[in-house]
């Protein structure tokens, strides 16, 4: 079912402005894959009118988990919701991250809240025995706990904008340094446009496969409003349908 209601199990702050939302759908849903997203009702009734798109952060049995930063009115309203409340949702939507070959060297680049979409991919790939190199640029040390950094086979380099944990650097700087030393076979990236653009341009120049998860304002999530398009070499493409994952060299920045 594409449209379903769910009960909120937890909606707790992990940092001063980042929340983790766990919900339990009331009906069976189409099993989501890493990189796919759901549209979540932020308020009550018709204000705000539109649902908000959020990538799947984690899954635990039938429970879906999302990570979001309070950025505007919608996310502020979402953060007010309490366990036990009902929330209406549509999804899962979009194309997932394609899985790498077992032998491929995987590099994951997460800028800020990009970690929300990549966390579930990391979990699935680690579960399949893949070794992953993760570059994660957070704002402050406060945000380091958003992902489980303990697993073996997760080789990570972490930076913060303020130097409160790891290097004081952006994830783009980490990325530039990393690929000087060791070229991956495939890159997965999610984060602000500047991060995606840097990864895209470098991947294209080096001839490395890259999967970039992009974000756009979205109305329907199912591909009918044509509101969430981005410009690509092949013309405008819907982030919700042809995306949110795009290949290197595809997007016109």
């Amino acid at each position: 079912m594409t449209f379903f209601t769910s009960t909120i199990l937890e909606n707790t702050p992990l940092t001063h402005d980042i929340f983790k939302l766990t919900i339990k759908p009331h009906s069976e849903i189409k099993p989501p894959l890493p990189g796919q997203f759901f549209m979540l009702q932020a308020g009550e009734g018709f204000d705000p009118l539109l649902k908000r798109p959020f990538s799947l952060y984690d899954m635990n049995g039938p429970e879906l988990k999302f990570l979001y930063r309070i950025r505007g009115r919608g996310t502020a309203m979402l953060s007010q919701k309490r366990p036990g409340q009902i929330i209406s949702i549509t999804g899962p939507f979009g194309r997932p991250y394609p899985e790498p070959e077992k032998t491929e060297k995987v590099l994951i680049v997460a800028g800020g809240m990009g970690i929300a979409s990549l966390n579930y991919l990391i979990k699935i790939l680690l579960g399949k025995g893949q070794t992953i190199r993760l570059l994660y640029g957070a704002r402050t040390s406060e945000e380091i706990g958003l992902i489980d950094l303990n697993p073996e086979r997760l080789i990570k380099v972490i930076s913060t904008d303020d130097g409160s944990f790891g290097e004081k650097a952006t994830v783009v700087e980490l990325f530039e340094n990393t690929i000087k030393e060791d070229l991956p076979d495939v890159i997965y990236a999610c984060g602000p446009k500047a991060v995606l653009r840097a990864v895209d341009q470098r991947a294209k120049a080096l001839g490395i496969k890259a999967f970039l998860s992009v974000e756009e304002r979205m109305a329907c999530g199912i591909g009918v409003c044509l509101g969430c398009v981005i410009k690509t070499e092949g013309g405008y493409r819907r982030v919700c349908r042809e995306g949110p994952i795009f290949r290197e060299g595809e997007i016109i920045w």
Binding site: T2, F3, F46, D47, P48, L49, L50, K51, S88, T90, E216, R217, M218, A219, C220, G221, I222, G223, V224, C225, L226, G227, C228, V229, I230, K231, G235, Y236, R241
Partner: protein
């Protein structure tokens, strides 16, 4: 059992619930979600003779109880529509309304010639605020509108001809122009022109500055326009604008709309149209009314 079927000209609809153009693609996406054949009719994304790229992003902006959009009628054009979209559409057991637009009378006529008989109805889009040429020029110019409808009507022999009006005209007068020029039905309203400003950059949110407002924010305007239209003409009126629930739909029917279109609501809940059909049935059963036609235009003033 209650009767929900209504007649729009020579077309009989199973129920008065139609999906609005630009909110339903060509039906393919929704066919994965629910049974299209339960709907009264579906209206396809606005179609032009040649493909249109649409406007640059941002294309949507949320407002209180509404959305501003500036999609710019992105569409595949007639040739690809006939080749890639029509075969799927023809398999459906639901009346299909093709929404068409052009920059010139000739373009509208060419579209109508190619689509006549291929779909159950044509909806003339003369009211989109998001394209520079054509479209709304015809919808706001008395003489051009009449001439356009007459020209299209001459080549539309099998399909029903519907004309979709903007709320930004004198509705009584323009409704009569539509009727007098030979349109079989009238649909209204298209989006209301609006704008939004980025206060940090002190620039308009949209590259076109003006965009189209839809959603529950415009429902009272839409109802008033439908009210004025049904007072002015005898052809069937299809009402739309901010319909989210069966209760909203009933308001339009009571005012005099023969059918309604669900647009923006489908973005919020893709099953809205189906839920409205269920809601209409419940309403009639609860009130002991057997035929939906007995509530259409039943408003007592």
């Amino acid at each position: 059992m209650v009767n929900l079927s209504v007649k729009i000209g020579h077309l009989t609809l199973k129920n008065p619930v139609i999906t609005a153009s630009g909110t339903f693609g060509y039906g393919e996406e929704f066919s994965e979600i629910a049974d299209l054949n339960r709907l009264g009719a579906i209206t396809l994304k606005g179609l032009s003779l040649l493909p249109r790229e649409g406007n640059p992003p941002p294309r949507i902006w949320e407002t209180p109880c509404g959305i501003l959009n500036s999609i710019g009628l992105e569409n595949v054009g007639l040739e690809r529509f006939l080749k890639e979209k029509l075969p799927f559409i023809k398999k459906l057991n639901v009346p299909v309304i093709a929404n068409i637009l052009g920059n010139t009378v000739e373009e509208y006529v060419e579209l109508a010639k190619n689509l006549d008989g291929e779909v159950e109805a044509l909806e003339l889009n003369v009211s989109c605020p998001n394209v520079k040429k054509g479209g709304i020029f015809f919808g706001t110019d008395r003489f051009a509108l009449g001439e356009l409808i007459s020209a299209v009507k001459r080549v539309t022999k099998k399909s029903l001809l519907i004309t979709k009006l903007s709320p930004q005209v004198e509705i009584r007068e323009f409704s009569r122009i539509v009727e007098d020029a030979g349109s079989d039905a009238l649909s209204l309203i298209n989006t209301v022109s609006g704008m939004a400003v980025d206060i940090e950059q002190r620039r308009p949110v949209f590259k076109n500055v003006i965009a189209g407002l839809s959603g529950p924010a415009i429902k009272p305007i839409a109802l008033r326009c439908v009210w004025e239209a049904v007072q002015s003409v005898n052809i069937p009126v299809i009402g739309m604008g901010g319909i989210m629930t069966a209760e909203d739909c009933l308001e339009f029917l009571i005012v005099g709309a023969r059918a309604i279109e669900v647009g923006t609501a489908s973005f919020v809940d893709p099953l809205t149209a189906w839920k409205i059909i269920d809601g209409l049935e419940n309403y009639l059963e609860r009130r002991g009314i057997h035929d939906i036609n007995s509530i259409i235009k039943s408003l007592e003033v």
